[in-house]
Structures are given as C-alpha cells and as structure tokens.
Amino acid sequence: MKYIEFSVNLLLIFPVVTFFIISLLPKSYEKTIGLVSFVSLWFAIIIIILLLLELIFNKVYFLDIPELILYKETGFEFLIDIFIDWISIIFLLLGSIITLIIVYFSKTYLKGEEGFKRYFLIITIFYFSYNLSVIAGNLETILIGWEALGLSSFLLIAFYRERFIPARNALKVFSIYRIGDVGLVLSIWATHHLFHESKKFYDLIAMGNIPKLDSYSYWLLLFISLCLLMTASAKSAAFPFMAWLPRAMEGPTPSSAIFYGSLSIHMGIYLLLRTYNIWSQIQEFKYILGTIGILTSIIGYQLYRFQYSVKIKIGYISLANIGLIFIELAIGWIQLAIIHTILNAIIRTYQLLISPSSIAYMIRDQFFHFQSKKIQTITSDLMKKIHYTLFHLSVKEFYLDILFDRYIFGIFRKIGKIFNFLKPFHIFILSIIIISFGFLILNFNVYSKDIIKLIYTSILSVLNFIFISRAFGERNHPRMVWYLNIFNHIYLILAIMVYETISKMNIFLYVTGVTVNGVVGLLILNKIKKEYTQDFNLNDYHGFIYIYRWESLVFLISALGLIGFPISSTFLGEDLILSHIEPDQGFLAISFTISYILSGISIIRLYCKLFFGPFKGGENGTTIHAA
C-alpha cells in the first residue's frame, strides 16, 4: 500500500520536476526540452500501469490518500486529498497517452518556433493540473487543479501573444472559465454547510445514498449539483457556454488538439462522474442535465453542419458528442459515457492533428469525385424560412457569444460606467471611512448591535459591488483597477469579521496575500506608467511583454495571487472567508460570487491589455487586428 501511495505521488512530482528542469534549460536547447517532457511522460505512463496492476493484485477498488493539510481550524479543514478508483485510472491513462502523443508531435512540429520552451512549460503545467484534478479526493483539490487547468489554457490560447485576436480570445475564454470556477467554489461552500465538513469522494461512495434528505438539504444538494453543472458546462463548453470553443483555437494546432479536442474539454464530464453520488439522487437535476445535453448536442451539431473552417468544425462535432455524453450521464449510463469520452477524445485529437492536410485530401477527393449538387428547389416558404434561419443562427453562433458579452458582462460594464465619477481620491476617502467604521464596530461593543451590523455589511456589499463593477468597466486608469481589487478584498474580510470571529492567523494569511501581491503589482504598474505614460491605458492591447519580460511574469504571478489562484495565501483566505458565510447570508454570498468573477476578469484583463497584443513602435513592424 505504501508503494501505491508513493507511485501516486510520483504522478504529481514528475510534472513538477519536469517543469523545473525545463525552466532551467536555455531556450536554444530545444531537443533536450522536448526529450525531457517526452521521457517524463513515458515514466508517468509506466507508473500508471504499475499502479493499475498493484490495485488489481491487492484487490483495492477505491483508495483514499490524505495528502496534506494546508490549514486547519475548528470546523474548517483545507485538505489536499487523493482518491483513486477505476475512473481516475482510465482518465489518467487517457490523459497521459494523449499528452505523450502531443508532446511527441510538438517537439518536432514546434522546432524553431519562438516560444518553444514556453509551450512545453505550459504543457507541463497542464499535465500536472490534469493529473491533480483527476486523482483529487475532494472538491478543494479539484479546485486547485481546475484553476491551474484554466491558467494553462489561457496561456496557450495567448501563445501568439503578439497578435491581437489571441490576446482578446484568451481573455474571453478566461472570463467563461472564471464563471465555471465560481461554481466549484460555491459548491465547496454549500457542501461545507450540508455536511459540516469537507466531504471526500471516498466518504461519499462509502456512504452510499445520502440518508434522510429533509427539504433544506435537498435544496442545498440541488444547489450544489447545479453549481457543479455550471462548472462542468463551462469547462466542457456545453450550453450556454459554447461560444468560447471556436475562439480558443488560436494556439499551435497540437495545443488545440490536446485542450479543445480531447482532454480539457472532457474535464466537465469527469467532474460530473466524480460527483455522481452527489447528484444522482436528485431527479430534477437529471432532467436539467439531460436538457443541457440535448441543447448542446443539437446546437453543436447545427453549428458543425454549417461550419466552413476545419478546426472549428472539429470543435463543434466534439461538442455535439459532449452533449450526448451529458445525456448518457443523466440517464445513468456511466460506462457508456466513459467509453464515449475516450473515443471522442482520441478521434478529435487525431482529426485536429491532421487538420492541415484536409486541404490536400479534400481537394484531391473533390477533383475526382465532384458532383455539382442539384440546386434544391425548396418551394415551400416555410421550409425556406427554417433553412435560412438555421443558417443565419449558425452564422451568429446562436447568439451565445453576444449573450455573455452583452447581457452578462455588458451589464456590469454599464453599471461601472455609471460610477465613473468616482475618482481615486473618492475611493480612498470612502475606504478610509468604511474601514475605520469597521474598526469601531469590531472594537467597541456599543456599535456592535445587530441592526448596525446589518446596515454596515449591506453598505459594504453595495460598495463592493460598485467598486468591482467600476474596476470592471475601467478603461483609462490601470492602477485604479488594481486599487479597487485590493479594496475589494479588504471589504470582503471586513464584512465577515463583523459577523464572526476569525482567528488572527486567518486574517494574517489573507492580508499578507493581498498586500504582498498588491504591492508587487503596483510597483510594476508604476514602472510602466513612468516610461509609457501615453500608452498606459486599457483601451487597447499594448504588448509591453516585449519590453518588460521579467516584469510581465512577476506581474502575472502577483495578479494570480490577487485573484485567489492556488499559489498564494489569498486562495486559502478566500476559501476561509467563504466558509464563514452562512447559507442564510444570501447577499454576502452573491456579493462574493460577483466579486470573485469580476475581480478575476478585471485583473486578468489588466494583464492582457498591458502585456499582450502587438507592441506599437520599435523595429518589430506593425500588425492589423484581423490577422
């Protein structure tokens, strides 16, 4: 058994070691870089096979390994936990084999490409986070893997960051992923309240059906399931999140294959499989899941039929299949769903990898077998209407892109615009007042009456909402976005401190995370502003990465820290804070959700707009947006 634990750990250690070896190698050592990734993947596959054999010989079908406790206090425990069963083994094998193929392909395909090393680093991050998500034993661990997956996805879409469209699309995909992530965060929160502890998947399986569901837990369970479904749909580009998929096909072809053809896009299905015990008892949820599956399938297929570009076409047919897999899950055909996933992943990888040759073989085929199709004479007006409408809907992508851009994010942008009159000065003054008032409440009993608390937290929530919308809509002052996000964190912690006693350690963790990252980011922003005052705005993509290489990396890390990415204590803090929100404090939960999404997007947008895109000026020449 010890040995099993060791080999499971190796699966996580290998990518980390590979990552460090590659990052230490100089850029020009392309062959070595490729070889290192290749060899480490082979090792991983061997380990997985050995693991499988050991499990079979020991007749262990489920295995839970508590890995390490990141944080513990009464009633809350943040545990990295590992859980292995046959589903994880299958997904591990699938992921490793496909990554191996992609690495083997890419090490020749990307030879001489600017960013060769970066590509392999990102693939390694991806592989690590994939493994972590697949062997995760609880939702918290999945969340870590999940966020890292999103990050690697974001970085690969913006692989050609000197162009405008990849930079924009990376941001777009990140926004959708962020919505998905919040689902996971909320479901963790709700699970805490349902079970009063962090439930492991192992316990869930061991428990069998959750006994005695009163109506409260039933609704909470439904809420958890819906949150999970949102996460799964966002990652798998299911309805209504479909519009990001075509936009993600910006990186080199093999990266599109691994992410949007095969692995990343099937992670939603994996999440649903993993949490099967949670949602399988709720009939309503199954109907919803089925409906989403049907919608995804139909719309994906419709988009596929009229799609004229090869990669996007493959993406859409992959989606149509994912819709079907959702339906299979809803019915309860787990095995079929898994087989379907494997086949879909492998076929789409293959199709994407050979997609450049389509032009040759299709033209050849056409040359010898062309039949000019008879012009369909649709006489019925109604049929014509349906035909043209379907076509037009495909052209407009069923308005799904616009749905998010205009009706979800657009609303916040508009709200932000209303508060454009708030200048940094106002914000500082307001914040100082609010913070000092918070201290009063916290330190003097006179003020800590329920009604005052209620009013105070309401004001905080409203202000928080305003600030974060303002940050979201801000276009001219990058530093403003940064400030507002820092305040956002402070407000959040104040709001909770008013209600509950949180240990000093807790606050310390959170505040250090925010301050360190905040200050580092601010220093870099100041530096850029000093040298490029003219271009220091968010109206365009500025491509400063070409001037500030190191700074951009440091800024990315501090930005990730500030948005609660699992590399900084902010992440832990954010989860802690969340665990202190009670289910009946609805407005706090909503406020948290919105600020989680919007702050993430606004900060990453800040990063994208400053560092990505074409750098204007210098000897690099110009670019046009549409290229």
Binding site: S106, I165, P166, R247, F306, A360, F370, K385, E619, G621
Partner: protein
C-alpha cells in the same frame, strides 16, 4: 457610374493579390508599385502601410561583424550618401518606428463614438463570405449558393427570421437595386474626396478576404465548386453593415465621418515623401548586404575556368531540368559524378502548355505557367486493369489521403492521349472535348514546341544517346502550402505530365522529321525519357513509354545508379540545413532514408526549405557556372548566346523568367522582412478555411504571403540576374518590353551582363548610362580541393566556392 468605377479601380490596385491556396503562385507583393524605384517604393509602403521592408538594424550590424557584409562594399554605398557617417551605421541608435497610416481615418469612429466596427462586423462578414464560398468543408452548403453573393445576402435577409440589418436606414440601402457605393459613402463619410481613403482603410483591415474576393471576381473559373461573387458587392455589404451598426448603436445621433474628422494629410503612393534618416541607413546596409554576396559570386564566376571544361564533347546523357533553384544542387552532383552527363535548365513545363485531364478527373488541371492559356488538353487513360486493385484502394482509403505526392499525380500504369486524332477506346470517349477543350496537339504544334524548347536551351545538335526531361514535384504531408512546393512553371503542380509528354513527343518520328527541317537534327538512335524528381524526398522516377533497346537499357540503368548516388549526396547537403549539424561521417544511404521519411512525417511543418535563400538567376551556358558552388541559391536557365545574335530567344526567355523568378524572390524577400503584414505568420496555428485559404483561429482574416516556417532561413536579398550575352543585345530586348524594363530599371532585380567574349561584367541601370562596366570588388576566392571542405560550406548559404575537381 464612371466615377464609381474609377473609385473602385483605384482601390483594387492596392488590394493584394490572393490566389486560392490550391493554386499557390508566387508573386511580388508590391506589384502595384512596380513603376517606382525599389527602395523608394519600399520606404513609401513602409510609411503608408507600416510594412517593414528591411531587416533590423542590429541584424545588419551582426552580419557586418561576422564578415558577411564587407567593409569595402559598405564603404562604397556609404559614400553615395554624404549625410550619413560611419557612426550612424555602426554605433548610433535610431528611433526606428513603423506606423501604418492606413486605418487611421476610419479609427475616428472608435475614438469619438466608442464603437469598434471591426469587432462587430468582421466576424459576421467573414462568416457570411466564408460559408458562401466554402468549397466543401462544411457538411451543408449555405442556402442560396447558386445565386451570386449579394442575392444570397438579400435572400437571407428576406427569409431568415433574424435580420442581418436591423435599422430602417440600413434596410433601405441593402435593398437598393442600384448598390451605389457613392451614395452610401455620402451617408457615411460625406466628403467625396475622402471616399478613397475610407474604402482603403476599410478594405486593408482584412486584406486577405478582400484580395481573395477580388481574385475570384476576376477568375471565377479557378473554383471547383463555382460561386459568383463581386468585389463591389462585398464592399457595399460591408458599408451597409457599418451604416447599420452606427445607426443602431447611436440611434441616429451621428454625423458622417468626413464632417468632423480629417485624414491627417494622407500620403499617396505617387506623392513625394520625406524619408527618415534611418531608412537611408537601412538602405545602405541592405545594398551592402546584397553586393557583398553578389561580388563574391561575380568574382568566382569570372575566375572559374570554363574553357578547360569545354574540351570534352559528346556526352552520353543529357538531362533537362527545371530552372528551379532546388534542382541546381542535384545537377552539380550528377555532373561531378559522371563527366558524361550534361545538364540543362529551362522552365519546368518544357514548353508544353497543356491542360491535363487525369483519368476520371472531374476537372482539367493547368500544367503551364499561370498567364498562359493552353489550347488543348492531354488525357490519361489506364492501360490495364489496375483500377480495381482492392489492396491499393484500401491503403488509399486508410492512409493515402494524407499524402500529397507528385508520383500519384498519374496512375501507375497509364497512357497519355496527346495526339489530335488518336484512336480512343470506345469506353473512354468521354475524354474527347472534355469541358470543351480540344484534345491533343497535331504534329506541327508538337514540333514547334520542341523547337522552342531546344533553341532556348541551346541544344540543337550533338544530342546524346539518351536525353532526359526531368520535372519536379514535392511530397509532403499535413501541409497547407503543398501547392507552393511543386513546380511554379506548372501552376503549382508537379511537372511529371509535362516531362513525360515532352519525351513521348520527342520520340515521335514525324516530329523529328519536322524538327530536322527547322535545323534541329536529332539522331535516330537518340531516345528521350521523361522523369520526375521529388525535391523533398530526393527520389526520382522515370516514365519509359518507348521500348528501350539493350544498349540504351544498359545506359539507362547506369544513369539510374548515378542518380541514386547523386540523390544521396544531395540529401546530405539538404539534411545539413534541417539539423544544423554536419553529417559528413554518416552513411549517405542512411541519411537519404531519413530524409525520405522526414519528408512525409505528419509533424514536419517544413518538408523542405523550398526556395528559401534564392538569390541568383544565371542565364547562359552551363559551362560558365558548372564548377561553381552556389549552395542552392541559383535559378539556372540554359541559353546559348551564339544561337541568338538578335536576342529573339533571349526575349522569349526573359518574358517568362523575370516575372517568375523575381516573383518568387520578392515574395520570399518581403515575407521575410515583414512576416506579419506581408507574410502569413506562423503556420502552426493556421486553420483551413473552406479549402480557399488559411486563417488564424476562427475569426481571423485569410493570411497572405508565406508562413514563417518557409522563410525562416531565407536570406532576404534581391535577385541578381546574370546573362551571358552582349549587353547591347540585352538592352535592345529590354527596351522593347515595358514590363521587363520596369523590373530592371527600377531595380526590383539586378541585371548583369557577362560578356561572352571579353568576360567583362556590365551592370544595367546603375548610373546615367543604361549599362556600364562593372568590376566586382572582392579578391578572396575560395577554391575547394576535396569533398570535406565542401561539407563545411553547407552550414551557410552565403558561401561561394569553386569546385574544380571533386
């Protein structure tokens, strides 16, 4: 109406030429400004469009430091510019800045009204055009594909429940029968003097789609699945969409652009512009860079002892290759392996202007240069029952579809129908008059084509026992630019059919009879064999349609062996550039096998380097450059000045060779200089769009030019054309053709005459005189003594050497 056409024509000139990717043709990206001097044109497009037309300053300095730009050459060009000092060249930093003026005027919409027109209109517009033009990627054709594009849009607007155009004003313009661009521009821009600028701003935001639509408007015949689309309709639709978006977003509260914004003194291409100092400096560097190499070539060429070679006569074999630079190295190896082999170069369609109709093909394929319109077709029919071979069929079904091989262009056992009144088997009668093009040549036509061919290459007597015509093609897999790797003289197809056809025709007794009357005497025992060489795998295949007697069979077998060894050596030379390491100690056969495998691997974005680093074109007898190592940088066209005292033959050569070679050269040049704007960027992220072209991702514009992978090792210098002929004859040829004159006079290529008798160089249009004597300024000449030294040269394309006896 006239004015509208005038406006459109003005715009059209500036829209790049984008052909379908299946017929990839190299062309000069700056063709529209050919009438201006090269550097002035470069600087102008750089100032107006923001194109980068030079290397980076540091790249030049690096080249200088490593000795590839010679000090003396640099000094020579520096002296022409008194305002620039050595410090400027070598040390000083300049605020080098590229900025596009196109697009600035239209950008005012965004600055004032905060509406990003591109963001909202491009995706929908591209998708409409893409779905409409799609050649077979999508499962369903777009409804209304049989109509023309604009009617399709109108139908869509009429029947779709979701409108394209939402506002009343937009609808009114959309349904306007006149489709008057001026009218809608009046609404959008207001001032007629800004119309042109506005349209240019708009169209050059998506040069790829505009270029393709312009091309398809002019040549709809190149689409397999026919579509009707007009450039003006496309512009009109885009204008209507813009109008609609503005009207919808601003609810009618907006003013025409021209009323409140002014294009900041828009510079026209024909106006005088002030150039920056750094542009002059880069120009000096570029010239010095070019001439550092040219001088080396010219000196070596002159000192290379051609008279010694001339003594041997009566070669056993004569091989006629394509002019292509990739064939230059295999010719070198063949000659050095067997002194009995004489080689020639000529455009790879071997003067056979044909449409090829493969067996069961549904279309005709043009197998000659793009501008020529062939008058007849050559058909292929099977000789035996080789079609129903289930094994090969299965293999094709499973894997074969990935491979694009020139060998597969014709079937294994097939026969060409090339004569006007051939006896055609009854069941094959469909091949006659297929698509209305007549079948085959008559004897006169055959003879005249061969006469042309033999006279241009200077092969009129002393025919060898076996004469080979060797076309070329290129195998590759997973390669969207596959057509760009095949023979350019065959419209981006392999030259197999042409080579085979030329051999068959030349073997005909009747044709030889006719040729004899024209002064070309082919001995009765001479036979012709066609063949094709694969430039990416270095394999060769011969088509033997004529029974060989035992003597010639032995000769042929011997040549095949020589060819194998030459191919292996050639493979080693090429492999050096793939790997960057010297392969001298490896077994040649193994290296060749690796090269063969490499060419058709799925994960190889560069199956071969193609024309990368091309720089020279030598028109003259092979003897003058036979023992010269020029890497693989030279287009070699055989030409005998003795047969052509009045320059008639030279004219027929130059007419084809200058546009083709200079087109290739300049496309590589500019794609290398600015891979973002004039090239296609990295091909790794390319997405095939409707079998029409490639774009990045989903919403990108079609890419033009060459991808980064193709030009990665290219040395961007202009073409130096060396002609072995009296400068006076050349001059007389040039002044009679305005287009040719433009290329040379405006220095889009450099032209040097190598006087056959005095062995002096004459440079054209360098000073006031049309041509003047030129003495290359370079003294070091590399003379190789053994093969090992040759290996050292492979690393760098800038090397030139004389290989006397290897």
């Amino acid at each position: 109406m006239d004015e509208k056409n005038n406006l459109l024509n003005k715009i059209k000139k500036y829209i790049p030429k984008v052909s379908l990717i299946k017929d990839f043709i190299h062309h000069n990206p700056l063709e529209f400004i050919l009438e201006q001097e090269f550097f002035s044109a470069c600087n102008k497009v750089s100032n107006i469009y923001g194109y980068k037309t030079y290397l980076k300053l540091n790249e030049y300095r690096e080249l200088y430091k490593n000795g590839w730009i010679l000090h003396r050459t640099l000094e020579k060009f520096l002296n022409k510019h008194p305002s620039i000092s050595w410090d400027d060249l070598l040390i000083n930093e300049f605020p080098i800045y590229y900025d596009s003026k196109v697009g600035k005027f239209r950008k005012n919409w965004e600055t004032r009204y905060r509406i990003n027109l591109e963001k909202h209109i491009h995706p929908i517009l591209f998708r409409l055009v893409g779905s409409f033009l799609d050649q077979g990627v999508s499962e369903l054709k777009s409804p209304g594909f049989n109509l023309d594009f604009y009617s399709f849009v109108l139908e869509l607007e009429k029947y779709s429940l979701i409108p394209i155009i939402r506002t009343q004003l937009g609808k009114q313009f959309l349904n306007d029968k006149r489709k008057d661009i001026e009218l809608i521009l009046n609404k959008l821009v207001g001032k007629p003097e800004y119309y042109e600028i506005y349209l240019l701003d708009q169209q050059l935001e998506h040069p790829g789609w505009s270029g393709l639509i312009k091309y398809l408007d002019e040549h709809p015949e190149y689409l397999f699945d026919k579509r009707e689309i007009h450039f003006e309709d496309f512009i009109y639709l885009e204008l209507v969409m813009e109008l609609d978006l503005l009207e919808r977003r601003l609810k009618g509260k907006w003013e025409p652009l021209g009323n409140w914004a002014k294009p900041s003194n828009f510079p026209y291409l024909n106006s005088r512009l002030n150039f920056e100092k750094w542009q002059q400096i880069l120009q000096i560097w570029q010239e010095a860079y070019e001439w550092s190499y040219y001088d080396k070539v010219l000196v070596s060429l002159k000192n290379h002892d051609s008279d010694k070679i001339k003594q041997k006569l009566n070669p056993k074999y004569q091989c006629i290759f394509c002019i292509d630079d990739r064939e230059s190295s295999i010719r070198r190896y063949l000659e050095s392996l067997d002194p009995n082999i004489e080689t020639f170069g000529t455009p790879g369609f071997f003067q056979m202007d044909i449409y090829f109709h493969p067996y069961k093909g549904k279309f005709l394929t043009k197998c000659c240069p793009q501008p020529i319109h062939p008058s007849c077709q050559i058909s292929e029919i099977p000789t035996e029952e080789n079609i129903s071979n289930w094994k090969s069929k299965l293999k094709y079904k499973l894997f074969g579809f990935l491979k694009v091989s020139p060998f597969d262009f014709m079937m294994q056992n097939s026969q060409l129908i090339y004569e006007k009144d051939s006896n055609i088997p009854i069941d094959m009668e469909e091949v006659i008059d297929f698509q209305g093009v007549k079948l085959g040549y008559d004897h006169q036509e055959m003879a005249s084509r061969l006469e042309n061919l033999f006279k241009t290459i200077g092969l009129v007597n002393s025919f060898a026992k076996i004469v080979y015509f060797i076309g070329h093609g290129s195998s590759s897999k997973n390669n969207t630019y596959y057509a760009g790797y095949d023979c350019g003289a065959c419209s981006g197809r392999p030259g197999s059919v042409n080579a085979r056809l030329a051999a068959i025709i030349a073997n005909k007794k009747e044709v030889r009879e006719l040729l004899r009357k024209k002064g070309i005497d082919i001995p009765a025992d001479t036979i012709f064999i066609g063949g094709i060489r694969d430039t990416s795998t270095d394999l060769v295949k011969f088509y033997i349609d004529y029974p060989l007697n035992s003597e010639s069979l032995i000769l042929h077998k011997e040549l095949e062996r020589t060819f194998t060894i030459a191919s292996q050596k050639n493979a080693i030379e090429r492999a050096n550039k793939f790997t960057g390491i010297s392969l001298r100690n490896l077994n040649p056969e193994k290296v060749h096998n690796k090269v063969i495998k490499r060419a058709t691997k799925l994960m190889i974005p560069v199956p071969e380097w193609n024309h990368a680093s091309n720089a020279l074109c030598i028109i003259g007898r092979r003897d003058i450059n036979k023992n010269l190592y020029l890497a693989r940088r030279a287009f070699l066209n055989s030409y005998d000045y003795q047969l052509d005292p009045d320059g008639k033959i030279l004219y027929s050569i130059l007419k084809a060779v200058i546009p083709v070679t200079a087109g290739i050269n300049l496309e590589y040049y500019f794609s290398r200089m600015d891979n973002n704007r004039m090239g296609a960027g990295s091909k790794l992220s390319h997405n095939v769009i409707g079998l029409l072209g490639v774009a990045n991702g989903a919403d990108g514009d079609l890419r033009i030019g060459l991808p980064y992978q193709m030009i990665r090792i290219h040395e961007p210098i202009r073409l130096l054309m060396i002609i072995e002929q009296d400068p006076n004859v050349i001059y007389n040829v040039l002044i009679n053709d305005e287009t040719l004159l433009k290329w040379v006079q405006n220095h889009w290529i450099h032209l040097v005459s190598f006087h056959p008798i005095s062995k002096e160089y004459y440079l054209f249009f360098s000073g006031n005189k049309p041509y003047s004597k030129y003495t290359p300024d370079y003294t070091k000449i590399k003379i190789l003594k053994n093969e090992t030294e040759l290996f050292d040269l492979f690393k760098n394309d800038r090397e030139v050497a004389i290989i006397n006896k290897l």
